[in-house]
Amino acid sequence: MGVKYLRVVNRDRCIGCFSCMYACSRMVRNSMGSGKASMRVRSYAGLEGAFSIRVCARCAHPDCASACPTGALITAPGGGVRLDKDLCISCKTCVKACAISALQWDEEEKQPLPCIHCGQCVRYCPNDVLALVEDGGTEATPS
């Protein structure tokens, strides 16, 4: 088994139900809302039905980790980051550094919410918008 990458493969099938965000919060963070999801489905003012799904790109050299002043975000094997909570000073620099706005912020804990590419959001997408793929380079994200 190689490294898994969460990818947006059918952006134009998204119906904007946020089931993925709820799944991430529920299954990964044991939280009932959608606020602790490590991803976002964005919609746009006045563009009925236009959704953009922002998921972690699992960068080999993540901008979020580079931006972190304390080294709290550690580049994971195969790319992406994990968080050392003890080092985080809640400065939110990492979130601002993610150009695609994929890295999310935990409003309660005041810490980032790195994606672990586990695929729970994939399991709960009714329309196959998301997928876990082995080769992260061939599919574009965000979409």
Binding site: C17, G33, S34, G35, R40, A45, E48, E108, P126
Partner: protein, 584 residues
């Protein structure tokens, strides 16, 4: 549940949050809780548009936590019916209220100037809407979604269009993308408070009482919603799949309920819209079904120049602006729906009122002087568009009156016999027979959603059933819907949420209920609504059918005066409404 009630007084600009655990423990949430709040804060004899008249919003224990628990209920005094106003909407509102930690919202007072309300967790602000008062419901959404954007957070926007500002009793309140508190005039009530919009969001993420059980019940429901056939109809063609079948059984109201067969049914069918106009499905927050069907209307406004708009459609819309007006060109219908969406009218009431006006004109009770030159004809889409434009401009007495609904118009302009309304509310799109007549006359909100009467009529075509059993089923269904509307689960998921799974869900959330408790809640909530309605002046002995409905064929034949009277008596008996007694 936080059992938190947010009170906002627009007159003073003050707000406060109160917790009432006893209320939510006893009445669960949603419509049952909102009814109690209406008793506490409303005046059944008061003016619907008075500053002190409350507007109540409530969600229930399942909202935003379990699939397809997407609805928010609103209760108010209806400026259309003059009694209980109740309307439900999806979108993202219940999610946003949940995120903000608010289970109910009570708004009273009148802002000094056009305003909008923002709710961000416990922080409430009343802000000026001076710059966009007068803007359409669609433009207001664009403006506020940018002005009130919250990074990475989901925001819900409820707003009124110009119709609500003009205090039209058929004005709706629009929620997010194409969802509506459509019926009974909430738009006018908000307009009377100088309240253009409500923007809600929050960051609360409550802990799960019993995580393992919660995830298990979630998976059961998810699989039913996505993989079973329970919601397939809504997921695929949507409710507009009913257009052709209902027309085939003569149950699709056509040309102001003259007949139930529409010769243009194929042309405005769900199949036709899917083939030529459907471009996308969208969903309310936390609904994996995604029943919102978006059509695209592309029009050439100058040589080689096109405007493109997206408009949502479903069965009731195609009935109200289609078969009722004898319009079989989908583009005519979409143009009318887009204009209606911008103005913020309830499509069902507006379509019914236009149909009354057309019949009146054709019968000669309404003159060309009254219509100021417009010749109303069934099937004439261009003239109907001209009518809507005149209403929006307030151009002429007749057109200013039209947005007051068919009851008011017919009392002033004549034609009461063919003004098709029940308790002053234009009905949903069914001409199926006496069960539906009982729904419309006796249902607490005079809505086709009060019980499944229209479906019961259709089932009679294949399987006769004693009348008393039919009425008993209606009452049982009306009570059960009180439970669904207290949780609050979208009624499209009524086949997904059986009593067992509901109890499992409540248990997983740490809420203590049992089967008899749910039954009692449904019975009590329905009884309390009738109690409120009676205080407002509703007399269950004096309900009246539109006269025309005794002279037309329905799916199950003619509606008989005596047989209907018998059904109504049975309905009163089985709801405990007989002899003027207030049920308990």
């Amino acid at each position: 549940m936080n059992a938190s009630i947010l009170y906002v007084d627009l007159t003073s600009g003050q707000s406060r949050v109160e917790r009432d655990e006893a209320l939510f423990r006893e009445f669960m949430g949603g419509t049952a809780v909102a009814t109690e709040l209406l008793f506490r804060h409303g005046d059944p004899k008061g003016d619907a548009l008075a500053p002190e008249a409350p507007v109540i919003f409530a969600i229930g224990p399942f909202n935003a936590l379990l699939p397809v628990a997407t609805k928010t209920v609103s209760l108010f005094m209806s400026p259309l019916s003059g009694e209980l106003g109740e309307s439900h909407a999806g979108g993202r509102l219940s999610m946003a209220l949940r995120d903000a930690g608010i289970d109910a919202l009570v708004i009273t007072g009148r802002a000094k100037a056009p305003s909008y309300l923002t709710i961000e967790n416990e922080t409430v602000a009343v802000k000026s809407a001076a710059t966009f008062w007068g803007q359409s419901a669609l433009a207001t959404d664009r403006i506020l979604r940018e002005a009130e954007s919250r990074s990475g957070r989901k925001v819900s926007i409820l707003r009124i269009g110009p119709a609500g500002e003009r205090l039209s009793p058929i004005a709706c309140a629009t929620v997010d993308g194409s969802r509506h508190f459509g019926r009974l005039g909430l738009g006018a009530v908000l307009g009377s408070k100088n309240l253009k919009a409500i923007v809600a969001s929050g960051t609360r993420t409550p802990p799960i009482a019993r995580p393992k059980e919660y995830k298990a019940v979630y998976d059961t429901l998810y699989d039913r919603v996505v993989r079973s056939k329970e919601m397939k109809k809504y997921h695929d063609l949507g409710t507009s799949s009913n257009i052709v079948p209902l027309s085939l059984i003569r149950g699709l109201p056509t040309r102001n309920f003259t007949q139930g067969h529409f010769e243009g049914a194929e042309a405005i069918s769900g199949e036709r819209f899917a083939k030529d106009f459907l471009v996308q499905h969208t969903a309310c927050a936390h609904c994996q079904c995604g029943c919102i069907h978006m059509a695209e209307l592309r029009e050439e406004f100058a040589p080689y120049h096109y405007s493109t708009n997206r408009i949502s459609y479903d069965y009731e819309l195609l009935y109200a602006m289609g078969s009722m007006l004898s319009l079989s060109n989908p583009e005519d219908i979409l143009r009318l729906l887009l204009f209606t969406e911008k103005q913020g009218w309830d499509v069902i009431s507006l379509g019914g009122t236009l149909a009354w006006a057309t019949e009146s004109f054709l019968r000669g009770t309404l003159s060309a002087d009254a219509t100021e030159g417009l010749t109303l004809s069934f099937g004439d889409g261009a003239t109907y568009m001209a009518v809507l434009e005149r209403i929006a401009r307030g151009q002429g007495e007749f057109y200013r009156d039209l947005e007051r609904g068919s009851a008011w118009c017919s009392e002033k302009w004549g034609g009461t016999d063919w003004a098709i309304h029940y308790g002053r509310v234009e009905p949903g799109g069914y001409m199926t027979g006496e069960n539906f007549a009982v729904t419309s006359l006796m249902g607490v909100r005079h809505s086709h959603l009060d019980d499944s009467g229209y479906s019961a009529d259709q089932k009679l075509l294949n399987a006769p059933k004693p009348v008393e059993d039919q009425v008993k089923d209606q009452v049982r269904d009306a009570r059960w819907r009180m439970v669904m509307n207290s949780l609050i689960v979208c009624l499209f998921a009524r086949g997904v949420y059986d009593e067992t799974v509901i109890l499992q869900g409540l248990d997983a959330l740490g809420l203590s209920w049992d089967g008899p408790g749910l039954e009692k809640l449904g019975e009590r909530a329905l009884a309390r609504k009738y109690e409120w309605k009676r205080l407002c002046g509703f007399d269950p002995e004096a309900v009246r059918m539109p006269e025309k409905m005794y002279s037309v064929q329905t799916s199950t034949g003619m509606i008989g005066r005596e047989s209907l009277a018998r059904r109504l008596a049975l309905y009163r008996e089985h709801t405990g409404l007989q002899d003027g007694k207030t049920p308990r």
